[in-house]
């Protein structure tokens, strides 16, 4: 603003103060910090990472390498192993966890149960722990020689299990720790979904003489479908990014049996400082998450 323009306005007396910030321009001010941060710390890195995935280190700098990283990736046995481990967890652990969550939610929603909020708090408790903390607790409870779990199992005649040093059991241990951490979280989401199912549906079924089990399969499960989809998408994205638990619990071992995609990305990026290759891994992860999310959305949309 120039002095000459401001003068006459002032002489008009303060009746109507000119505002520089108006409802028209203020939204830009409100989004400015978010957009700035977003451009610097998300958009730029996402693009830069894509470019890096086509480069490799030569001397002190990076040079264009075409598809070299991606070709190497598709011939990398360890990458396939990480991919396989991650998908195995996805296919086994996620259904078990969602099944448990639904069962507990249905039980808690039953009119027979009192002290509902006590149960809800208790079941939700694991969801407040840091993944690092919960992994450490499980690491200690699952110790092969002195761990509590093996000690308790010895009472029912089970020989000590090598939870963290046997390739098969290490996967089981990882899944147990994840299930402990996330079941209550999903349970609360299901519980909210259950409370939204109209009671009249059950009353009608009751009058038609449908058993409780029938009601569960023909009313509860179909009515919860959107919640299933939501929790499934959340768990899928979470599992594909699994890092903290295997890093603490097993460091990807033994013999890479618990190596996950993100752990492999971390190792390549920050242990071997192979930024190009790590970026290629990251982009394969983006692609997988993109395709899976798209498929799940499409599956959900078609059914409507």
């Amino acid at each position: 603003m120039s002095q000459t323009n401001a003068e006459p306005a002032k002489s008009n007396e303060p009746k109507k103060r000119k505002r520089w910030i108006t409802p028209k321009n203020v939204p830009y001010l409100f989004i400015l910090p978010a957009v700035t941060f977003f451009l610097i710390f998300t958009v730029y890195p996402v693009i830069s990472s894509l470019l890096l995935s086509f480069q490799k280190r030569e001397g002190s700098g990076y040079v264009f390498a075409g598809l070299e990283n991606y070709i190497r990736l598709f011939q990398d046995g360890l990458f396939y192993k990480a991919l396989g481990n991650t998908f195995l967890i996805l296919l086994i652990q996620v259904p078990i966890q969602l099944f448990l969550a639904v069962i507990i939610a249905v039980a808690l929603n039953s009119q027979l149960v009192k002290m509902k909020s006590f149960f809800r708090i208790a079941f939700f408790m694991p969801a407040i722990t840091a993944l690092v903390a919960s992994s450490i607790i499980f690491m200690i409870m699952l110790d092969e020689n002195y761990g509590l779990v093996n000690y308790l199992l010895s009472f029912v005649g089970v020989e000590p299990i090598a939870w963290l040093s046997d390739p098969f059991w290490a996967k089981v241990a990882l899944m147990v720790a994840i299930t402990w951490r996330w079941t209550g979280y999903n349970m609360v989401i299901f519980l909210a979904g259950l409370q939204n199912i109209p009671g009249s549906l059950y009353e009608a079924a009751e009058m038609d003489g449908a058993s409780k089990l029938k009601q569960f399969f023909y009313i509860t499960i179909p009515q919860l479908k959107p919640i299933f989809l939501f929790t499934f998408v959340l768990s899928t994205i979470g599992t594909l990014q699994l890092f903290d638990e295997p890093y603490i619990l097993t460091e990807g071992g033994p013999n890479n049996s618990t190596l996950t995609i993100t752990l492999y990305l971390y190792q390549n990026g920050f242990r071997y400082f192979d930024f190009g290759y790590a970026s290629a891994i990251a982009y394969v992860l983006v692609l997988i998450i993109g395709v899976l999310s798209w498929a799940q959305m499409k599956w959900a949309g078609e059914d409507k």
């Binding site: 939204p27 958009v43 149960v113 983006v286």
Partner: protein
Amino acid sequence: MKNVSPLKKTLLYFFLFVGVIVSVFPFYWMFVGATNPSGEIFKVPPNFFPGTHGWENFKNLNENVGIIRVLGNSLLITLTFTALAAIICTAAGYAFAKFQFKGRNQIFFMLLVAIMIPYHVTLIPLFEIFSNVGWLNTFQAVILPQAAYPFAIFLMRQNMQAIPDSLLEAARVDGAGEFHIFFRIVLPVMRPALAAVGIFLFMFQWNNFIWPLVVLQSQDMYTLPVALSSLVGMSRIDYGQVMMGTTLSTLPIMIFFLLLQKQFISGILGGSVKE
């Protein structure tokens, strides 16, 4: 209600109580470990009761990884991040919910896409950015990258839509400035949503692991999760210390959770469950 067989009821309660024990026992075990010397939980049979060695473990832990400093780091980083991210995300959410402006839908769509993109894709370029400006091993490197948290912006936008336009218009007619409206009218009305989003952001940063692990390089800068992971990585692990560290990271959150369960649950679930 029909009369239900007592057996059915007993079974139901049995099932739930087993579940509760499985959910809560590890916390108890952590506490037992934290208050006993390292060997006690590893004896056969193990010691099942809290001991009196807690202070000793704390002192050793402080000598070992400087846990007081680490706690301070975590607290400083988390609180600064929460305040910064809450204000940035709330302002943006307000603009997206209550204003018409050019590019609004396009920018908002980009944010939605960003929610789906795994954070790990950005790790390497972020590392390079902070390395180039000489900010590796600093608190700002941990705080800044996620301050415009797309999901938090999304949540605030959803909540802001409930504010009636007439309320804002009335304030404008009365001559209130836009910032006055935001700080004095919108924020107070949004207090419950702010609490939930604040808890969400706080929990994210308190538990944040992979990025601080990458960017923090010396022990005096570590956050709790990074310090804990360094303890576990040592060749001789002192389990009393480890459990004390785990307790220190969990206990404050647990107390807050028990005090503010409802806000906590909806906060951690990111508002997907309405109370």
